[in-house]
């Protein structure tokens, strides 16, 4: 992840090339080494994805044998007209908007601060990273407890602050997603934090020393050294974070199960519900395919943006 592979590259090209036979043998062994991964990739990713794509053109029901009747694009057109589908896509986007900026900016800020701690940096690293190792079920329990209407920790704080009837965060359609987002930020910030810390370690200390000698303030150092030098880390963090946020499922499922009503039903919750609760695998496959298209589009846009950024640099 840190971009320090430059030094290693000559070593790769300097390896003497063997004759054709040797290359063939090496290729074979390479394939053998990749085979176990390839097997699982084909069985559990490519195969099911293909099945999903095919099933999206059928009225497949999980409780009936086979794919069912071929219905062409009907699943897709039904989804396009479905309020629930669009609102689930919007909720996914909403969650992404709520979580990506804080998760990128805060993790950067915390990483810079933890990196500058003269002492106890291990403690801070651990403190920020520990929530990330907890399972989502534990996180959800903690935050459901905090957000419990009327008697939870948050309601209690609101009462201290003088509110007579504290708002139930997870029970109010307009706030429930904020609650899920807060829980997620607290939970997952450690991952981006570690990526940023790794990036920070790669910046040579001499640069800061030189800047300090030239009279740069700490803020100027961050503005003109840290941020530009971490730009590659930032694009990586951004992409990983956007994709992770688009795939939001566990916290919503466990904290609100998509409720109240369908106000926190995200794309994956919608897909799970359609496929496994309502048994409509065909429709769920079509929805999955549309989500897949959206995620790929975002990844491609990001790739293009990075290329433009590199040209500019």
């Amino acid at each position: 992840m840190s971009a320090q592979t430059v030094g290693a590259q000559p070593a790769v090209t300097n390896v003497p090339r063997g004759d054709e036979g040797q290359t063939g043998g090496r290729q074979r062994s390479a394939w053998l080494f990749i085979a176990p991964f390839g097997f699982f990739y084909v069985c559990f990713l490519l195969g099911p994805s293909l099945y999903m794509f095919v099933a999206s053109f059928f009225d497949t029901s999980i409780v009936k044998n086979g794919l069912g009747n071929f219905i062409g694009l009907e699943n897709y057109s039904a989804l396009m007209q479905s309020r629930d589908f669009w609102s689930s896509m919007w909720h996914t986007l909403q969650f992404t908007i709520y979580t990506v900026p804080p998760l990128v900016i805060l993790s950067f800020v915390f990483a810079v601060l933890a990196n500058r701690m003269p002492r106890g940096s291990t403690f801070w690293r651990l403190a920020f990273f520990t929530p990330y190792i907890l399972p989502s079920a534990a996180i959800s329990l903690i935050w459901v407890f905090i957000f419990t209407a009327d008697t939870g920790l948050w309601a209690t704080v609101q009462k201290w602050l003088g509110s007579e009837a504290p708002t139930p965060v997870l029970g109010t359609p307009s706030l429930a997603m904020v609650g899920v987002a807060i829980a997620t930020i607290w939970w997952t910030i450690g991952f981006n934090f570690i990526l940023y810390l790794a990036g920070l370690q790669d910046i040579p200390r001499e640069l800061y020393e030189a800047a300090a000698i030239d009279g740069a303030t700490p803020w100027q150092q961050i503005r003109h050294l840290t941020i530009p030098l971490l730009s590659r880390t930032t694009t990586l963090v951004l992409l990983l974070q956007i994709i992770a946020s688009l795939k939001i499922f566990d916290q919503v499922y466990l904290m609100t199960s998509g409720g109240p009503g369908t106000s926190t039903e995200t794309a994956l919750v919608f897909i799970t519900k359609t496929g496994f609760t309502d048994f409509r695998i065909g429709a769920a496959a079509a929805a999955s395919f549309l989500l897949f298209v959206v995620i790929v589009a975002i990844a491609v846009i990001r790739q293009l943006a990075e290329r433009a950024q590199q040209k500019g640099a």
């Binding site: 999980i62 419990t148 209407a149 008697t151 139930p168 029970g171 309502d278």
Partner: protein, 455 residues
């Protein structure tokens, strides 16, 4: 299990077999030991055999007081069988997650021997081909007959004329009251029971008196984080009104809600909040606590909360059927039932499963003490149940129970309850106007109605 001291042998005393098994495992032959019938899930999975031959596996969705009570019944079954190994019971989260698990496990050929289902959901499981039929022969294996059950519930267990579920109870939505508060409010009769409340005016007067006596609220019920409860409340009141029509009909293909009546019902329910007689935002534990601590005269929920209420020390409470506020008595209800998920069963397995069901039916009094109205007539008609207080107070609610309208997306904890209940909750909280709510419910239901039935 704690109530039955284990025999020294069962508690892993150093028997020759254990020693041998340990020795084998230590000698690197653990795999042999694991496949030799001591029931490793991996071995059973690989061989496609039963996990624990001779053990009944049982899945249920009973949490809270119901869960505690069920535990007593399961322990009793284990005691009857003389071994703790005879039963493997698992409790899962209520509602859609539970039914999804049962469905997927059945499709994956790893269902439990016996599962609990609501009658409103069992018909969908049956339509999906996930249940084994309950024929007279199957019932006879446990010495049962269809005539042993409440007729209304038995009929509800049928799909296309064939029974697929064995009903255990009817569980209506009821009214709990804090007897001390109601006493102070002058709402109790000379017998210490709640004086009958008839009609909307009497109800609002009772709530007002209760509010004054408690210094808090007249009545409480969850408006947050319990969509099904919101729906049950609405369904209870709406079903009492002349001219009410089911929200959906034709197995869910058409939306037939009487919008005008629904708007009026919601407005009436909301007015109780606006008058300060009911809290606007409270979840189930909160609503319960208010009544338990004397901050409210009434608490409304399913009768199963009786176990929780009984566990509160010093709480003087009673239960009664939800009063008739409008034209006719009605209360939302459903029934718990036993189902046999579809699987290859040999005769011994089927007999064991039915024996387990019979054992739980025979312990119907324990279950009835948890508030449920037994559908198994030998229990229902027993003098023991007829004298059971306060549960027998609302026993006739089973006769005017209002179930969810049938559809592939309805039933207890279903999408139907989620979408209607959430909107109803918003009205209670004052976040949506009744007319907008009804329009929203109609739009959501029409969306489901036009979706092809996947069953």
């Amino acid at each position: 299990m704690n109530s039955h001291p284990p025999t020294p042998r069962a508690r892993g005393a150093l028997s020759r077999r254990n020693l041998l098994r340990g020795g084998l495992a230590a000698g690197g032959l653990g795999a042999v030991a694991a496949t030799s019938g001591c029931g490793s899930p991996l071995a059973a999975g690989l061989a496609g055999t039963q996990l624990n031959p001779g053990t009944v596996t049982f899945w249920n969705l009973f949490g809270g007081g119901d869960g505690a009570r069920l535990q007593l019944m399961l322990d009793e079954y284990r005691r009857q069988q003389g071994s703790t190994e005879s039963l493997q019971a698992a409790t899962f989260a209520w509602g859609n997650p539970y039914y999804t698990k049962v469905s997927l496990a059945t499709l994956g050929n790893k269902p439990p021997d016996v599962a609990v289902a609501h009658l409103t959901r069992a018909s969908n499981l049956a339509a999906a081909g996930l249940l084994a039929p309950i024929t007279d022969d199957v019932l006879a294996l446990a010495g049962l007959a269809s005539s042993d059950f409440n007729e209304r519930a038995w009929e509800a267990s049928k799909f296309e004329g064939q029974a697929y579920a064995i009903p255990l109870d009817t569980h209506p939505w009821v009214l709990f009251f804090n007897a001390d508060v109601c006493q102070a409010a002058g709402l109790l009769g000379p017998d210490g029971e709640l004086a009958p409340i008839e009609g909307l005016e009497a109800w609002e007067a009772a709530l007002t008196a209760g509010k004054e006596a408690s210094g808090g609220f007249g009545a409480t019920t969850a408006t947050v984080a319990d969509d099904s409860n919101n729906w049950r409340f609405f369904n209870t009141v709406y079903s009492q009104r002349e001219g009410n029509t089911p929200l959906i009909d034709d197995e869910g293909l058409s939306v037939t809600m009487n919008d005008e009546l629904a708007v009026d019902t919601l407005a009436t329910m909301r007015s109780w909040v606006e008058k300060g007689l009911m809290p606007a935002t409270v979840d189930t534990p909160g609503a319960e606590t208010l009544m338990f601590t004397g901050k409210s005269a009434f608490f409304m929920n399913g009768e199963w909360e009786v176990t929780t209420a009984q566990s509160i020390e010093g709480l003087n409470f009673g239960m009664t059927a939800f009063p008739t506020l409008f034209d006719r008595p009605a209360a939302h209800a459903d029934s718990h039932a036993f189902v046999l998920p579809r699987m290859e069963r040999d005769d011994a397995q089927l007999e064991r499963a039915m024996g387990f069901v019979k054992s739980l039916l025979d312990q119907g009094m324990t279950w009835a003490e948890g508030g449920h109205i037994p559908t198994y007539l030998p229990t229902f008609e027993s003098s023991e149940y007829q004298q059971l207080e306060p549960m027998s107070n609302y026993a006739d609610a089973a006769s005017y129970a209002s179930y969810d309208p049938p559809a592939w997306y309805s039933g207890s904890g279903s999408n139907f309850e989620t979408v209607t209940g959430a909107t109803i909750g918003l009205v209670q909280q004052g976040l949506t106007k009744p007319a907008d709510a009804v329009a929203g419910i109609r739009a959501a239901l029409e969306n489901y109605a036009k979706t092809a039935n996947p069953l």
